[in-house]
């Protein structure tokens, strides 16, 4: 046996990774590998979680309340016509790894980089309407808009396009390589990425908000949720990020040394009905589908109560949330009557979805509900690449579209309901009746009045049901009881800065 152990030792010695022992290191489970930490191109919750430790935005969301707070900008003023935003930057903020002091020019560079077609940013559309970004002095940034946009601050929060990079760093490292050599101003500094295994960030002792209490955070890639749960119970990891499987949630709730947190997310999962395909152009048919699907049973049965009701695409984590909207409580008789009225009994509805759990599974109870009210169904499950291509063509009858992003009401409303959001985009229903309301919401400066307009949009779209919210996502997170100070946000990320570890 000794010989065999010796042989093993020899074999694995090539796979050695060195990490200094004895430091306060938080170990966080992530479900899949990271690959791109460049704010202009970043996507995926794992990348966003890691990046949120490295970067700051001009402003940030309060993790608990989603209120917008100062971050790199200490104050800002808006011109009377709502077109010019002037930001004052915090003085003395330093970029990581010796890339110097943050100046207004870095902000100008970061935002212009997202807007520049050459950088092929995923988020250019988020900053559409920004005419110029100027840096009149090193600590002043002036953003001029083509028209007033009351939602601009939402676009400049510490998420995706809002994260500020260093001009010097991107230029020196190179546009492509920067993806895995990110430089920010945040509480943690990117240390290293071991493909398929882990990403590590170390404390930024000079952070402007004060040095973090942790020395480092390691994000471990653990695909299987059961294995991750056991690792958490055994103390091999400290935080279980992206906890989703109902049986695993149940198991962890019973564990004595673990705390399970949950919160309604900004996300909804929606059945999008393509109005260019008959008979979905008929509002009666769309309403029949809405009444025909037992969404409560889906939440209670399939998801074991781990999801929340989707009253509209604006979930309860948004300040604009309301439930006084047209609702479609499960009513098979009404669905049948509506189909009869439309003269569309027994038509075939094709349910198209991506081959990822839970989407490929939840279409089955949906199809069975619809069959019961007399709609024939056909389920088509496509691999992600093929699904994106099919959805991009715009001729599939339905699709299941998840909306994720910051608590910015424009993010779900514009993406799903604006005419400009297809093609390309996610308005595969081709809904076109709230464009004016969306424009007036953007132009409105008074927050209370803006909320009113958004609620009108929610009401109109739920009346027309081009999109049926199947459920609102709930985020689950588990951590060992040695973790103190973790605040769960409604984005699909976690922030380790306020965390400390007790022995």
């Amino acid at each position: 046996m000794k010989k065999i152990t010796g042989a093993f030792a020899l074999l694995v010695s090539i796979a050695l990774i060195t990490i200094p022992a004895g430091a306060a290191e938080l170990r966080v489970r992530i479900g899949s590998d990271v690959g791109n930490l460049d704010p202009a191109r970043i996507f995926g919750i794992e990348n966003q979680t890691v990046a949120s430790h490295i970067y700051n935005g001009m402003v940030k969301y309060d993790q608990a309340t989603n209120k917008i707070l100062p971050d790199l900008a200490t104050s800002w003023s808006i011109s009377a016509d709502g077109k010019v935003y002037t930001f004052k930057l915090r003085d003395g903020v330093m970029f990581h790894k010796g890339y110097g002091k943050l100046t207004a020019d870095d902000v100008k560079f970061s935002l212009e980089r997202v807007l520049d077609p050459a950088s092929k940013s995923r988020y250019a559309g988020q900053l559409a309407g920004v005419k110029t970004v100027e840096a009149p002095d090193p600590l002043t940034v002036r953003v001029t808009l083509e028209g007033p946009n009351g939602g601009l601050l939402n676009k400049l929060t510490d998420f995706n396009q809002g994260w500020i990079t260093s001009r010097k760093a991107v230029t020196k490292i190179g546009d492509k390589k920067y993806a895995m050599q990110p430089i920010g101003t945040g509480p943690f500094i990117f240390d290293k990425w071991l493909a398929g295994n882990q990403v590590r960030v170390v404390a930024n002792k000079d952070y402007f908000g004060g040095a973090p209490s942790l020395d480092a955070v390691t994000f471990r890639i653990i695909k299987d949720e059961t294995a991750a749960a056991i690792a958490l119970e055994n103390g091999e990891i400290d935080v279980f990020f992206a906890l989703q499987s109902p049986p695993v949630i149940d198991r962890l709730k019973k564990a004595s040394n673990v705390t399970v947190l949950n919160r309604v997310a900004n996300h909804t999962i929606n059945l999008v009905l393509n109005q260019t395909v008959k008979p979905l152009d008929d509002i009666l048919v769309r309403k029949a589908i809405a009444y025909g699907i037992n969404r409560e049973a889906l939440i209670k049965g399939y998801f074991k109560g781990t999801k929340a009701t989707g009253y509209s695409v604006i979930t309860s984590s948004f300040p604009q949330y309301t439930e006084s909207l047209p609702q479609y409580k499960h009513d098979p008789a009404k669905a049948k009557a509506l189909l009869k009225e439309a003269g569309q009994e027994g038509f075939t509805l094709e349910l198209v979805t991506v081959g990822l759990s839970p989407y490929n599974q939840l279409v089955i109870p949906i199809a069975s509900d619809l069959e019961k009210v007399g709609i024939k169904t056909k389920i088509t499950v496509l691999e992600r690449g093929a699904y994106l291509q099919a959805r991009g063509k715009g001729d599939i009858m339905t699709c299941i579209t998840g909306i994720v992003g910051p608590p910015d009401p424009d993010s779900p409303l514009v993406s799903l309901y604006a005419t400009k959001s297809f093609p390309p985009g996610m308005n595969t229903s081709r809904y076109n009746k709230v464009d004016d309301l969306l424009a007036s919401a953007a132009a409105e400066q008074d927050p209370a009045k803006r909320t009113g307009i958004y609620q009108q949009i929610m009401s109109n779209t739920m009346e027309d049901v081009p999109v049926l919210p199947l459920y609102a996502d709930q985020l689950f997170l588990a951590h060992g009881n040695n973790v103190k100070g973790l605040v769960q946000n409604s984005l699909f990320t976690i922030q380790a800065y306020p965390i400390s570890l007790s022995k």
Partner: protein
Amino acid sequence: MGITVIGMVTVVFFLLRAIPGDPATYMLGDYATVESVAALKAELGLDRPVWEQYFSFVRRALTGDMGTSVVTGQPAFAEVIQSIPWSAALSISGIVIAVLVGVPMGVMSAVRQGTFADLFVMLGALIGISFPVFWVGLVCILLFAHEIRLFPALGASSSSDIFTQVHHLMLPALVLGFSVAAYIARLTRSAMLEVLGQDFVRVARAMGIPERRIVYGLALRNALIPVLAVIGVTFAWSLGSAILVEAVFSRPGLGSMILKAVFARDYQLVQAGVFVLASAVVLVNTTLDIVYGLVDPRVSVS
């Protein structure tokens, strides 16, 4: 040998491009515009005819350049190299366990054909073949990492301590090893039975040579030839199973990396990964061909 690798990489090159969904659409995601997709395609060279892409790939590959990952912007080969030690450690230790367990079990059950021990070993082998490794892996985690805390639940450690590393590797290696051992045991048994029934064994027995020497000195040596051939095949097979073991035990490795790259349509990374994987399989099989010569003098390496 080289032809096999070139063939594999070529097939993969064209297969990849036949899958619907291109990297540009994938990378730009939900908010892509027609212009940005076209621009990214042009940058990645995907707007050119496939055969033209192929020749430029071959030209670059000949100079040792496997391209850049479209996701991370890093050289594709660097990421592949990073995952080789993980895969090698798992596959090799798995095969070593499989041979150490499978061959003696097969010999024993052949010598005691029809006894309770034979039945027991063959039943065990049947279970080993029938139960998928990812299921066995999960059960082992529940059993050995939770109920009896003998091993960690994670099959990879970030510690620099060699014993911690080995401790983490043990459970995945055992799971992979036993599933491969099941094949090897069955094969060794049938090869041994065939050899034990041959004339030269009967003559040896008649000459009064001790049974031990007949079994291990004469029969096993002859039975090993087909077994060796199969070990080569099972090595390729274990690399495939290793993907499942890697997923269950959260281990990095070539298999998981290629799978991730396929989902992301990271063509360059897939190609670099397959190149290394194909080379490894060819290398192991060639080595075994040479080993035949040592076991069986009739076979010579020409």
